[in-house]
């Protein structure tokens, strides 16, 4: 059974816009074209950036327990998002 290609907690990298090159987590899915992203630093989870998925490089890894954590949005802090991005990048062997 196929998995949805875009999920909350998934690691992405911006390919276009002022934030090009920065890593984010998907914190909300508007539809199949637009997702909300935050990195806990320049983009806080309280004010996520709406990005066209065509302008994102999608990585095949997600924040641990993302479904449960995002089911209660107030639980996901900016610190947790920034930390998750660091850990996911380390797991991929990518420089942060």
């Amino acid at each position: 059974m196929a998995e949805e290609g875009l999920r909350v907690g998934q690691l992405v990298r911006s390919k276009a816009g002022r934030d090009a090159g920065l890593y984010f987590l998907i914190v909300g899915i508007k539809d199949s074209r637009f997702v909300a992203v935050a990195d806990g630093k320049v983009r806080r989870v309280s004010h996520p950036k709406l990005k066209n998925v065509r302008h994102l490089e999608i990585y095949p890894v997600r924040m641990e327990s993302a479904d449960a954590r995002f089911a209660a949005p107030s639980v996901v802090t900016d610190r947790a998002i920034a930390e998750a991005i660091r850990e996911l990048l380390a797991g991929l062997g990518q420089p942060t």
């Binding site: 196929a2 290609g5 991929l92």
Partner: protein, 249 residues
């Protein structure tokens, strides 16, 4: 986090995979014109439970059935119902089973009844061979994106497209584990593949646009242009000896 499996765990997953392959073969035999897709679902559940296993999809995030039956422009996750197969329908069947807590997951596409049209035959061949080239990349030392890249290049070289909104996945004691296994991408990206990783590789190949949309039932995914789609899937272990397909009869 990518969970590596021991050789013993992989053997249990092979049991689940073998059952899934047998169920798919039986369903394919039964999927004749006039048969309701709900009848295929009943058959699948009986075969799985008779083998002492549990249907993997039933109840998964609320999915109501044992199999997914996706017809013609339906890409994946078609819910079995009273709809009866017609001669010439392009049918995709997706089945999962759990044995001793470990999952097996596979899918196959074919034409019900008579001879496929030229487009159906070519699309089926492109989908099946896209899976083959993807599986071939599931080797130690490769990067994850080598799989999707090979699948995409193959499907597009045949004039078709690969679905991006849905992907393959790691599999083990859960149906969907890390990593996600997209059917597109650039070579050399993502995690290094290591012995003990088990991946469900599942290209969804569309005759027309790669764009899909989900119907109001919340599950059935259809092509946006209404053109046909095929879906082939194997559960594959990365081993020191190369890719090991667990979903064979």
């Amino acid at each position: 986090m990518i969970i590596l499996k021991t050789p013993e765990e992989i053997e249990v997953m092979r049991e689940a995979g073998r059952l899934v392959a047998r169920v798919l073969a039986a369903l394919r035999e039964a999927a004749r014109p006039g048969v309701a897709t709900s009848e295929l679902d009943v058959l699948a559940e009986r075969l799985i439970r008779d083998a002492g296993a549990v249907p993997a999809f039933k109840g998964y995030r609320g999915y109501p059935a044992t199999v997914c039956v996706s017809i013609n422009e339906q890409v994946v996750h078609g819910i079995p119902a009273a709809r009866r197969l017609q001669d010439g329908d392009l049918v995709s069947l997706d089945v999962g089973a759990v044995i001793k807590g470990y999952y097996g997951d596979a899918a196959v596409s074919f034409v019900a009844g008579g001879r496929p049209t030229r487009l159906q035959a070519d699309l089926l061949d492109a989908g099946q061979s896209a899976l083959t080239v993807g599986v071939e990349q599931a080797r130690e030392g490769n990067r994850l994106s080598d799989i999707g890249s090979a699948i995409q290049r193959h499907a597009e070289s045949r004039g078709y497209s690969v679905v991006r909104d849905y992907a393959g996945h790691g599999i083990g004691q859960a149906m969907h584990e890390d990593p996600q296994v997209p059917n597109y991408g650039t070579r050399g990206q993502g995690p290094l593949l290591r012995s003990g990783m088990v991946l469900a590789i599942e290209p969804m190949v569309n005759a027309g646009t790669f764009e899909v949309t989900c119907l109001e039932d919340g599950w059935t995914v259809v092509t946006r242009d209404g053109r046909p789609s095929v879906h082939f899937e194997h559960t594959v272990a990365v081993t020191e000896d190369g890719p090991d397909i667990l979903t064979l009869p």
